[in-house]
Symmetry: C2
Subunit: 467 residues, 2 copies
């Protein structure tokens, strides 16, 4: 309580018009209490990870996750559960993915730790072999003559910037090497690409993730573990020509149908005003999609589950949306937004958890220009009741990929922001498994989201009706 | 930068008199940059954990840690390194610690996961066997008749309160069962005690930690893993009498000499004003003392190391103190404070890291009554330059055990506060090992401490000279 009072004092200057009611303080305490002593999300995550596993859009595992989460929604007793078909491009990794340095003067043959990037082209069983050229950026590549790149394996080796405190900022600034590098290299006639894994953890675990070829014919493209990357880079300084063989069995498999999964609690007073809480149900196929984004999925589901258990009757409709194929195209998000527009649905707010199941820090906010300022002012007023739970962070900025399409619908968007330090240790890697999610941190995230949804439902924004 | 500006805006209301200078913003950015790209603390921690291991006060391992850290101080080029002898009580765990349910109707013989509490009495090789009575609190025990307790094994089984957001608060409220329970039980003639481990992680790892017998003759006292505790408790509901055999080879070994280790950088302008930054060098003997408090030790050392590397010349004397036997008596802290008083040294501030090597959240502050208010006001003004590094938390409250003795010397005390969610997963258990410390989180902690020391040194408090 002392902590709470002090926090109120600290944040009182933010709250010229709102003074947190005893009801809010009490209700949010109850949400946390309930979640911390009696939540299901950790068990749901275990099932998603251990019984289903990696859930790439279009895969049988993804379909199993649709069935499972639909059942969980029904069991918890939401008012309505449905799915939305989404056509997604399907890609399979297959059994083989390897790379090795060949015929080196210094090291002979040397295995490198690699994983195919999502949508990478495959190779025949003998693989492709070529000389490696290292670049630090797409710029550096584009300045090279096509003659120098043609037939080569382009090695993008710029590390993430360790001096960024928020690791997502470091990721953002290095990510083009994975998302766009292979396409640019392919355009210049490169044989294949190797991208330094987007992580700050110094190990030899390769990280995957999407690469986008667009109209360009895919070439083999792998992510490489940091120790392997440094090994290769050091060798390139010693030998004028280093040749690498890459063998990948991955293949593009055409289109498949996946589904968004939606569970809904009808609003008691303003049923036509919708608040979305969500995550994406798909994940990369290596690992179990535990932090990305199994955590977000089960946290969002828990928000509805606890509302029902606690017999909280929201004024507005609370809709939990589990989006299809965030990782390989975001068509799930597009379908959801298009359907909503078609039906003339009014989304007043959306909150997504897609930054891992780590200890909560706060939220980012986004909205159309005129809506953002007053909405931010409203949310600022809630700081005093959120700060005792460690939710000090509230800043404008991008929310999350899937809900971003609802911005143009006039919704106020929130991205849940857990601590970022560990996220890229596991991201898109075989280490993104259930065991690396901390139960209490996961649950605190669900509670943080529950608290925010409670406040949004109660107070609304400029875009919603007031009592 | 956008993040920084927004933070400045958010916290501007706290800063009526101070406006952070460009120099502060730049200098603190440099400290973080340097630490995040070129720090030694993770390597030092590896050595402390892997080459030395658990460092109980009075043990040969503790002596090795004194030698090692003294050498590191010399190598980094501090102005002065010295040690202070501290007489400590020495206790050895020995090879055997086990407990088992015997002659149960339901389960026959059943092993329980236990670890002797520090200063527990030992048993002969056959152990002691007695009937178990379960209590939820010391109060409940004290209300029992001596006749009911005599010759029994008292089982303290109150769980930590999972609804506390800060796990240290939950620890504080359950801790009496370990620190004082065995003494109270011994006073009532109990044969031995079993205490539910002070953790929120549901596993079967027993946690140790000090228990204080004072003038009471020690009896065997163990911590028990949560799963074993629940198993025992469930059995007690089914069988009227449950008997347990406890066998411990631990023993009190009299007094030994340990040492505080101190490294110092002389102040350029006010050399007689001392700022202490520290942690405790001792740890429990099970595990490696990684989070408790190897992390704090190496973070404190890193503060001095980076000052030297960056050629920051502090105005005041910065003294890194590695305290002896925090875990088993705090005599190191007493010796340090007494010596300081003897010499008439002026300590203006002290900062200790003894809450684990997890992701930084902020600081607590403490001081004598008249000093606290103006010092807190001063520190509040620094929020704007600390917030971009995730250091949002600054509240009055207890700092840390070792430096608390400097409060009466007129020092302003700071406790470094990392996120608390994972700390008690490992605390005083065999799982408190190097692998469970996250390098980047550890280093960010050192940087946070470095930033605060920079500000204290530059601006001082009411108790120090001003430019």
């Amino acid at each position: 309580m002392k902590q709470l009072l002090l926090s109120l004092l600290i944040f009182s200057s933010f709250a010229p018009t709102y003074s947190q009611t005893d009801e809010d303080i009490e209700q949010i305490a109850k949400i946390y209490e309930q979640m911390l002593t009696n939540s299901s999300c950790h068990d749901w995550l275990r099932y998603l990870c251990k019984n289903i596993g990696g859930r790439l859009g279009g895969s049988p595992q993804y379909a199993a996750a649709v069935r499972y989460t639909s059942e969980v929604f029904k069991d918890m007793g939401v008012d309505r559960v449905w799915t939305q078909p989404v056509e997604v491009p399907y890609w399979e990794r297959g059994e083989v993915e390897k790379a090795r340095i060949v015929n080196s003067r210094q090291v002979g043959t040397h295995e490198l730790a690699v994983a195919a990037l999502g949508f990478s082209g495959g190779t025949g069983p003998m693989g492709v072999t070529g000389e490696v050229i290292e670049v630090q950026s797409l710029d550096e590549l584009e300045k090279m003559s096509v003659g120098k790149v043609r037939g080569k394996i382009v090695f993008f080796n710029r590390p993430m910037d360790a001096t960024r405190i928020n690791t997502f900022h470091a990721y953002g600034r290095a990510g083009d090497q994975r998302t766009s590098g292979p396409r640019k290299a392919a355009k210049m006639g490169a044989l294949a690409t190797i991208t330094r894994s987007l992580t700050l953890k110094y190990d030899d675990v390769p990280h995957s993730g999407v690469t986008i070829f667009g109209d360009q014919k895919p070439i083999p493209a792998v992510g490489i573990g940091l120790k392997s990357a440094d090994f290769l880079s050091a060798l390139l300084k010693k030998e004028s020509k280093v040749r690498v063989n890459i063998t990948l069995s991955c293949a593009h498999m055409g289109k498949r149908i996946s589904h968004n999964v939606i569970g809904e609690i009808k609003g008691s007073k303003y049923p036509n005003e919708i608040i979305v809480v969500g995550g994406h149900l798909d994940s990369w196929d290596i690992g179990e999609g535990a932090h990305d984004d199994g955590a977000g999925v089960v946290q969002a589901m828990e928000v509805l589950n606890q509302m029902i258990k606690m017999e909280l009757k929201p004024q507005r409709t609370i809709r939990c949306v589990l989006f299809a194929n965030e990782e390989n195209g975001m068509y799930g998000a597009t379908v959801y937004a298009d359907k909503a527009k078609e039906k003339g649905e009014k989304h007043i707010a959306a909150l997504e958890s897609d930054a891992g199941g780590h200890t909560p820090r706060g939220f980012t906010m986004d909205a159309q220009k005129d809506l953002l300022k007053p909405s931010y002012a409203t949310a600022q007023e809630w700081r005093s009741v959120l700060a005792p739970y460690g939710l000090y962070y509230l800043q404008t900025g991008g929310s999350a990929a899937d809900i971003s399409k609802l911005k143009s619908h006039g919704a106020v968007l929130f991205g849940f922001r857990p601590d970022s330090q560990r996220y890229f240790d596991f991201h898109h890697a075989r280490t993104d498994v259930f065991e690396n999610v901390h139960k209490r941190e996961l649950v605190l995230g669900a509670a943080s989201m529950g608290a925010l949804v409670y406040l949004i439902d109660k107070y609304g924004f400029e875009n919603s009706k007031k009592d």
